[in-house]
Symmetry: C2
Subunit: 493 residues, 2 copies
């Protein structure tokens, strides 16, 4: 292989970084904790974004854009939210540079261009948006507001990891305003369902939907719904959240509406988001020691066609022509196909490269196969190679893409389900987390103290209280206090 | 009318602001100089972005994403570029807030969280991108790099105007790297042609393509190509620029490649961009005293269908059903149509509202017309109302949208062409700018001093030296020194 990938067994974390860097998804940058999303990674993100955006629009949402900066006085208005994010805020204090008199050719911050009020680079946009909604909402006729924004946000993290935790990341944040609590709760649940649908049916990523414990809630929310996915190392990755914000932001920003009885009421709010972090989930759910494995529905390229090139020019030209015809036939079915007829690279090099990139299907067009009306197809997920008839080939490939999509989901789900364990004593709980990490369903006494203590002792957190959780009597795994249900524990990214 | 719009004659500048605010395109925000792009304005931007993005991809470009922040030491590496933007830079100096001990509930910048090196919020991304390209480029095989980024940028402007000049704005910036000068120049010209194509064929905005004088070049460029459009007040609006950057950034960031002869060479660069500023151009080119006028190809909604509502419930239901069927038939042709069957608003109110929003076609479905197999159609551009047969109505509407698109372009072009004047003496030059503003073609001696002096005296700048400019002997309008060609002067946004 051209580019060596660390194996999962050898070093899981290096394996992940190798895939991101050598797979061409992203690169480190000169800015601490910020990454460059390379074209291949960005095309993946575009495909994910386009699917999500369509889902948002189908559920009645529209896009808008709000400022990058939040004046400090607005940022601090909702106290819990402010407290939650204060430690991670990049702050703009000046609006001009000037030439440095002591160092020719260098610049310095102009001390005379200090802002009267500092500007926080948005870590999330509730504050700036609710300050705007105040102007937009007077009557019940102005509600609901169903707005989404695709944007960059900044959270100054001390330990960063490509895609999983970067100082700047790309995301979407929905911010809705409603006349009633019931409507806002329904919106919150609708959006976690949209996220679960997207994760499972496009990313092939099985998720558990649930509600966060109070300690794990979004700062400023009354309830946080989450989807949790299992990575190949058994750790959990929070893949999307939807928050019921109650009237907290309406009260902080004094946003009221006049109801049908002509009475003023505070507005109810939700917010919900997913980010480029999902790309990290995608990698760790499906990739293997040979590289990335892209789920067909969002893969940047779904099919790579490699014509066999030889010294026989006429034959080579015929192979290239056949490859291009197939590409064009696939494109007519809406399939994203590319042809690699680069004669400076050998087939083995190309095979390894496209395995690394995780392209779902590789088609090799060779003269001998073609004489028999066949081509060779390799699927990335199982590595199986088969001969396919050129008759109805585009349709066969379309079908195979569906199979691969389903297989990736099934495989990830089987892995996850076999790594969820019910545990009833703390010694087993600790042992399992160390020796065979996965999700653990265990009883918890419902207190933040116990939750914190378990985290200290095991690094495991409550990922969620699953929706439709079966109710059963039991005893808290740590304190032995009574409990009515098991909750989902795991170590997490 | 529900919302009063200042007329152009009364106050052009207030007319513009009224359209932006009352037309629902954008709103002021709590952050100085930053605006909120409202859903209607953002949908317009999405439509523009989607067309441009497709054009970029068809010319071989791919999207990527680079960090929002530029470390000061990188920012200052290309000196001319740094000098050009230093005065407009928002600077992040700290990465944390903390609770203010003197004011309970308030936050303050944590002085202990000062960054070792300040971060500039990108006013443009050449520096961060070329610092990245250094890692990506070793050999001629790595070239060309044809990358575009859709992003927000910040330029701290003292006097801001909605869309036209805001501290934060959205744009795309293409950044390409090439092995040869000829290739980079060809790319620069290709992209100004893409912009002109987009402006003329989608925005219905006639533009003059040309090259900037040295003083008006992008900071760090060797040549800046521009498209210049005329607004209804006769002023110019620079609508897109494409820069040939020579080897300036390659030298500043030491980006070389090994050519086929195994020799190191500096890489050649271009960059090119258009921004949300284009929305300002759109407004000022087409709108009238009743509101916005959207060119059909990028209009958020192309057709609004208004069923006639009466106390006859059966009839009303029939009108609504007919309206929805028409909408669905239009959508099958890819036409963006909406139905307004809100019974709390009267037709007159709705007509005014959709005129204000600039929806190209309004269809009224009334029982009397319908009994005769007809509907009433009003076109926004000419305000003409006509009866149309329901036979083949979707096709008639499709045709009418094309007519409107063409008419908007023709009208704007006729206006512009009738306001371009050749002038040969300075008194007329000054008088014309004051009394009947437009574009002036005049001789210039080619010096920066004369250019500056003319600007001081008249506020007019050289917008460009048009491409394929006819060569003729003449005398500079100000100095009388010899000149070989006329250049395009105007006051500008």
């Amino acid at each position: 292989m051209s580019k060596e990938i660390t194996s999962r067994a050898e070093n899981y974390s290096e394996w992940y970084n190798d895939l991101v860097l050598k797979g061409g998804l992203a690169d480190y940058s000169a800015v601490r904790g910020c990454m460059v999303i390379k074209p291949y990674g960005f095309t993946l993100w575009e495909n994910m974004r386009d699917v999500l955006d369509k889902m948002f629009k189908e559920t009645g949402h529209v896009n808008a854009y709000f400022p990058l900066f939040v004046p400090k006085s607005l940022f601090e208005a909702e106290e819990k939210n402010a407290e939650g994010f204060a430690k991670e805020c990049a702050v703009v204090t000046h609006y001009r540079l000037k030439t440095n008199p002591d160092e020719p050719g260098k610049l310095m911050v102009d001390p005379e261009a200090k802002l009267e009020e500092e500007l926080v680079v948005r870590p999330t946009s509730e504050a700036i948006i609710w300050n705007t909604y105040k102007k937009w909402i007077q009557s019940y006729r102005d509600l609901p507001i169903l707005v989404n924004q695709w944007a960059n946000v900044v959270r100054w993290e001390m330990r960063t990891r490509l895609f999983l935790r970067t100082a700047e990341f790309l995301w979407q944040e929905g911010h809705t305003a409603h006349a009633t609590k019931a409507e806002a709760v329904a919106e919150t649940i609708q959006m976690i369902n949209v996220y679960a649908d997207f994760a499972e049916n496009y990313m092939a990523l099985p998720v558990i939907k649930g509600v966060k414990s109070e300690s794990e809630r979004f700062a400023g929310a009354e309830d946080t719904y989450t989807i949790e996915a299992m990575m190949q190392d058994g750790k959990a990755l929070q893949s999307g959240t939807s928050h019921f914000l109650g009237q907290n932001f309406a009260k902080a920003f004094d946003v009221t509406y006049v109801n049908k009885d002509n009475q003023p009421e505070y507005v109810w709010a939700t917010s919900w988001g997913v980010s480029t972090r999902l790309i990290g989930a995608l990698i760790m759910a499906h990739a293997d020691d040979d590289g990335l494995v892209m789920p067909p529905r969002i893969a940047p390229h779904q099919v790579v066609i490699i014509p066999f090139l030889s010294k026989n020019e006429e034959e080579t030209q015929r192979m290239i022509t056949t490859a291009n015809e197939l590409k064009s036939d696939l494109q007519k079915l809406g399939i994203r196909a590319i042809v690699d007829s680069d004669e400076t690279k050998r087939p083995g090099f190309k095979f390894a490269e496209y395995e690394l990139k995780g392209i779902p299907i590789r088609v090799v067009i060779g003269p001998r196969d073609l004489a028999n009306g066949m081509v060779e197809i390799a699927r990335r997920d199982t590595k199986e190679k088969s001969s396919y008839s050129v008759e109805n080939l585009p349709k066969s490939i379309e079908q195979l893409l569906d199979n691969i999509q389903q297989n990736l989901f099934d495989k990830a789900k089987a892995f996850r389900d076999s790594n969820i364990t019910k545990v009833d004593d703390f010694a087993t709980f600790q042992k399992l987390l160390d020796e065979q990490p996965g999700f653990i369903l265990a009883h918890w006494d419902g207190t933040a103290e116990t939750e914190e203590k378990i985290k200290e002792l095991t690094k495991a957190t409550i990922r969620c209280i699953p929706l439709d959780n079966p109710q059963e009597d039991g005893k808290c795994i740590l304190t032995g206090n009574p409990s009515k249900q098991r909750v989902l524990f795991a170590r997490a990214y």
